[in-house]
């Protein structure tokens, strides 16, 4: 026991590289004669590395102790265990979403572009998860408004278009890695929601689409000045493939958040059935912010 204590004391005291060299070797091996003077003359490496002469037992003890200190690294190995992997990756995804929400500037505008930077209409891709044209009856279409609003009900397109029209050239970014700059026209979501007396302190806007697609958007983004209920692209009414008659258009979100063929919007604090979005419920991140 006393041996052990003697071994330990100098090690702790000498954690600093700059410990006086002669003292160090004397302290450390009180019993050892200067048997190899040529080695003892250099007591630190070229970069000031601490050098010690230890018995193999001491070396084993040092190595075991240092190995224990690396345990935090071994924790990463949890990702290799199938049962733990999924929840850990979900934690990572949710943490990223949380950070993304904190980063989001409610008044920070996405870049807008000149008309010459806008991609020709034919080169604006049609994106859909199931059918490009869900056969919406455009004649009799109405938007169902539900949830925390003072005037819920059915809204005609003309009622949505009665609000000031915003036209913007903004970038549409797909999670796959491509992007296009398009021309979009519509009503500010914030104008419409204010107009119908929506509770703007609610957490989400939920939307349901004619093709079965569904999405939910954080209220911060919904109230962003560039978030549109979009009914025009390139100066023309939305065509069927791009979401006629009404879609979301948010230059602060990835493409999969920009739901098309809107049927229902709902202002809510709780997501219906816990469903967050078509792709999100399969593993994509919910915030999807840019």
């Amino acid at each position: 026991m006393p041996d052990e204590q003697q071994d330990r004391r100098p090690q702790q005291a000498q954690s600093e590289e700059s410990a006086p060299e002669s003292q160090q070797s004397a302290d450390q091996n009180p019993r050892q004669e200067p048997a190899q003077p040529e080695k003892l003359s250099l007591r630190s490496g070229p970069a000031g590395e601490e050098i010690r002469d230890v018995t193999s037992r001491e070396r084993g003890r040092i190595n075991r102790r240092e190995l224990l200190k690396l345990l935090p690294v071994v924790a990463v190995g949890a990702f290799a265990i199938p049962r733990l992997r999924e929840p850990l990756l979900m934690d990572g995804l949710h943490f990223s979403d949380w950070a993304a929400g904190k980063l989001f500037g409610r008044h920070r505008l996405a870049q807008t572009f000149s008309n010459s930077a806008v991609v020709p209409f034919e080169r604006f891709p049609y994106n859909y998860y199931d059918v490009v044209d869900p056969d919406v009856d455009l004649e009799h279409w109405t938007l169902t408004v539900e949830g925390l609003v003072q005037r819920p009900g059915e809204y005609k397109l003309a009622q949505i278009q009665a609000f000031p029209k915003v036209v913007q050239n903004t970038r549409h970014v797909c999670v796959e890695g491509w992007d296009v700059i398009g021309n979009f026209g519509g009503t500010r979501a914030s104008d419409f929601l204010r107009g119908i007396g929506a509770d703007l302190t609610a957490r989400y806007l939920e939307v349901e689409c004619a093709d079965g697609y569904y999405e939910s958007i954080d209220m911060e983004t919904v109230l962003h000045p560039q978030t549109l209920f979009c009914y025009e692209m390139y100066g023309q009414p939305l065509d069927r493939g791009h979401g006629a008659p009404l879609r979301l258009q948010m230059p602060t979100k990835l493409g999969y958040k920009q739901a098309k063929y809107l049927n229902t919007v709902r202002v809510t604090n709780v997501l219906k059935g816990g469903m967050r979005g078509y792709w999100e419920d399969q593993g994509y991140d919910w915030f999807g912010g840019l």
């Binding site: 091996n29 590395e49 018995t55 990756l89 840019l290």
Partner: protein, 229 residues
């Protein structure tokens, strides 16, 4: 006992000389980073596979489609989960390492500076053309400094371009110095190639230098360091 005493008069403890080469912070950062880089490269290639081009969507011209065997995540969303989880570990360990080096002054051992340029070729000649080994009077030779400093550079480029790709609206001001939004994706890929170039060379050198050298990156202590010979 009596017979032994005749042979060995005064039993001296056998000692081993060890040097503390890698502080704990460096070792933790190194191994977390090793795992993170591997995960980020393989999941990144899976993400790239979703749109393996640097051009427009229409018409799409593929640059290179990574084979699934070298990718992680199974599909785009799975790969993004890995990427969005390990990016925190990568940035965390990278920043820990850089801050530690700056605070302790150890950066002087590793950082490749203009004065190291002249030492690169003799060292490369030694490694690749079996030339005479130049005398090394520092902890790391110029070629090592170049390699290690490069990884820090690749890491910084990956981080900054990654930020621009991940949140281009919030970090719009970062896109400009890298040549615009589209270049962020290109530089991100180039930095990945830098890591891919570094790793085999690094592993070969580790293999050549044997267990003792490798073990020192785990325990911090190296047995019989070469500069004491």
């Amino acid at each position: 006992m009596a017979a032994n005493a005749n042979v060995i008069e005064t039993p001296k403890p056998q000692t081993i000389t060890v040097a503390y080469e890698h502080p704990l912070a460096v070792r933790i950062a190194h191994w977390l980073n090793a795992v993170a880089v591997l995960v980020l490269i393989t999941s990144g290639l899976r993400i790239f596979r979703a749109f393996p081009s640097f051009g427009p969507k229409i018409p799409q011209q593929n640059f290179w489609v990574p084979p699934p065997g070298i990718t992680l995540g199974g599909w785009l969303a799975g790969a993004l989960q890995w990427h969005f989880t390990f990016m925190w570990i990568f940035v965390g360990s990278g920043l820990t390492y850089v801050i530690y080096q700056v605070v302790t002054g150890h950066w002087r051992q590793v950082l490749f500076l203009p004065r190291d340029v002249k030492g690169v070729w003799p060292m490369a000649r030694h490694y690749f053309l079996f030339g005479k080994k130049p005398a090394v009077e520092a902890a790391y030779n110029p070629l090592q400094k170049l390699a290690y400093t490069s990884t820090i550079f690749f890491g910084a480029v990956s981080f900054l371009t990654g930020l621009v790709m991940y949140k281009p609206v919030q970090f719009w001001w970062l896109a400009w110095p890298m040549g615009g939004y589209h270049f962020a994706r290109i530089w991100h890929f180039v930095a990945m190639c830098g890591f891919v170039a570094f790793i085999p060379g690094h592993l070969i050198m580790v293999l050549l230098h044997g267990w003792n050298n490798f073990y020192s990156m785990i325990t911090g202590w190296k047995r019989d360091p070469e500069y004491l010979d």
